[in-house]
């Protein structure tokens, strides 16, 4: 990093004080995401300055929409950018009291931002679970764009920003923190409100009309301003303001207290790792499965026992339905339009279960996912519908697991290995048997990993069946004395979740959609305490 000794002075920079200077473009989505985080830096011991590579109008729009609370200046003619020469924006510079660069941070990086804050003796400024990714690359710096003179040509006259460089063109919406208020629709006297709302905003079933009073009560329970943008919901990236979320929650039959779960759920769904864009648009069966853990189960009445996947509890059914209505109404993933799933999934009405932690002899699911037991949590998995596994006769825990492994072999497609993941929903009777035999949760998962294999004799190159084309990448293992391809890439591809009633030895296996960074990754978000 050059020390930019011949750099023109940074406007507003006072000597004798440390400074964080960030160079940005107004139309770079990563800059729009990253810059508001610096608002949290206390400015008594450090100066924070934004340097915009764009014109005054775009910059003013950027500062206003994103509510930037520190000084932002223009890098006229990109002179400072050329001197500091960042390859990408945003680039953050930590300058010491004499203006020398101590540290540089490129792009959006939560860990880096928190380290920067720590370096300044300040608390973390980038929470892990606010819906934004841990890391996001930036855009190339404007001074390196082909239409700009190369660095070194400092003597050139000031340049007007590129014609398309202004984010405010045509009033573009940035990743703003406050959205527009939702419009009001007044129905004609003779119009049936239930019928109108079913047609316009329903999930094919009648919904409760989101009247102004009901929505206001829901917004009030959230404790946030109604215009607050919680997320942008793919595939149309509609702004999910607190008010719009509340309107869908009313329609689904939620109690106002459910906003406490719904807001982190919407954030989690729009976490880039989960890739709800792909989940909404795929022709596969996938629907987001909502999994609830922790004290919130009792506090709001989430059900984890018999009929857990069914129509048993208002909390499960209304939260799952509100979430689906949000995807449909705000995200635009209409099942008669852009959602082209070949067969769909009954979970698209509502797909929300809670863990039966009381019947789980092991650590609960959210603890395995890295949270504390007393922390309420919501997890999301891009899920196929559940397939049942009956095992009533086997006396041994290992045999129960073996029976489950046969069902695991079928997820996605029987011959497809490595890509799929799965959740095993263990019923209380099965988990009791497995635990009684001294098997830990980790050992159960390892057993399922090592014993789920597809016999190699079931593959024929000539038939070109799905999964065969990738067989060269599969790992050969021996299962029950037979040469097999190992179904899963790692034990972590299998998750265990205990749920269901105490009578009936029926567990279930739930397959995934496309997984990993190229598909959908499971996410777990904390739910704030009561």
């Amino acid at each position: 990093m050059p020390q930019a000794q011949n750099a023109p002075p940074i406007p507003g920079l006072l000597p004798g004080k440390k400074a964080v200077v960030v160079i940005f473009e107004t139309d770079c989505p990563t800059c729009q995401l990253a810059l508001p985080y610096l608002n949290a830096l206390k400015q008594d011991s450090v100066q924070v300055i934004g340097l915009s590579q764009d014109d005054e109008r775009s910059t003013r729009e950027f500062v206003g929409q994103l509510k930037i609370s520190y000084p932002v200046e223009l890098d006229s003619g990109l002179k400072i950018s050329r001197a500091y020469d960042p390859h990408n924006v945003p680039t953050f510079y930590l300058l010491d009291e004499s203006g020398q660069v101590q540290q540089t941070l490129v792009g959006f990086d939560k860990k880096g931002l928190n380290e920067l804050a720590a370096e300044l003796g300040q608390p973390s400024i980038a929470p892990a679970d606010d819906g934004a990714p841990a890391w996001k690359p930036g855009c190339s710096s404007r001074h390196l764009h082909p239409s700009q003179p190369k660095s070194g040509s400092l003597g050139t006259p000031d340049l007007e920003p590129e014609a398309d460089g202004g984010a405010a063109e045509n009033g573009a919406k940035l990743l703003r923190r406050s959205g527009d208020p939702a419009s009001r629709i007044t129905l004609r006297d003779e119009e049936d409100a239930f019928e109108y709302c079913r047609k316009q905003f329903g999930d094919a079933l009648p919904v409760i009309p989101p009247t102004v009073e009901k929505v206001e009560a829901m917004v009030k329970a959230s404790g946030l301003a109604k215009e607050t943008v919680v997320a942008r919901v793919p595939p149309f990236y509609g702004e999910a303001t607190v008010e719009k979320i509340a309107a869908n929650a009313v329609m689904a039959g939620c109690v106002p207290e459910m906003m406490r779960v719904l807001l982190p759920l919407v954030r989690a769904a729009c976490d880039e790792r989960f890739n709800i864009h792909g989940v909404q648009a795929t022709t596969h069966f996938a629907a987001p499965l909502v999994m609830i853990n922790g004290p919130v189960r009792q506090e709001l009445g989430f059900w984890s026992k018999q009929n857990v996947f069914s129509n048993v509890a208002r909390a499960n059914s209304s939260l799952g339905r509100a979430f689906q209505l949000i995807l449909l109404n705000i995200g635009g993933g209409r099942p008669d339009g852009i959602d082209m799933s070949a067969l769909g999934n009954p979970g698209k009405f509502s797909f929300c279960i809670a863990e039966n932690e009381e019947e789980n002899p092991w650590e609960p699911f959210h603890v395995t996912r890295g949270l504390k037991r007393e922390q309420s949590a919501v997890s999301l998995f891009a899920a196929e519908p559940p397939r049942g596994v009956s095992e009533h006769t086997a006396p041994a825990g290992k045999t129960v697991l073996e029976t489950i492994s046969f069902a695991l072999a079928t997820v996605w497609s029987y011959r497809t290995c490595l890509m799929p993941e799965a959740i095993v929903i263990l019923c209380p009777e099965h988990v009791k048997t497995i635990h009684r035999d001294g098997i830990t949760k980790e050992q159960a998962r390892q057993f399922l990993f090592e014993n789920t294999g597809i016999p190699v004799r079931h593959y024929s190159k000539e038939e070109r069946a799905e999964g065969t084309q990738l067989a060269a990448n599969y790992k050969e293992i021996t299962v029950r004395g037979e040469k097999c391809y190992q179904k899963f890439r790692s034990p972590e591809a299998i998750s265990i979740f205990v749920a269901g009633g105490t009578a009936g030895k029926f567990s279930a296996v739930i397959g995934s959609w496309s997984t990993g960074p190229a598909g959908s990754q499971m996410v777990t978000y904390p739910i704030p305490d009561k």
Binding site: L187, H277, N329, I330
Partner: protein, 93 residues
Amino acid sequence: MPVTIVHPGNESRPKAATPPARLASLAGKKIGLLDISKPGGSFFLDRLEEILRTKHGVAEVLRTKKPTFSKNAPPQIIEQLRGMDAVVEGLAD
């Protein structure tokens, strides 16, 4: 008493894009072929490239590929295709 409800949907209206004029001829044109990474996509696009080159006299065929079919094309892929006279985005399966 008329009922007033809060609009629960996305109210933003995307700007309408005007499709470019159809090419009168492919001769001498630059054509981009975007493989979306679905299995089998390359078979289709290989054949299409062959037809474009041998039967239509295109000046250039630029082949590029999305890292995954499950996500939008990253900006650098779109950037590669800038300047093409036409782009074919190939689906497969």
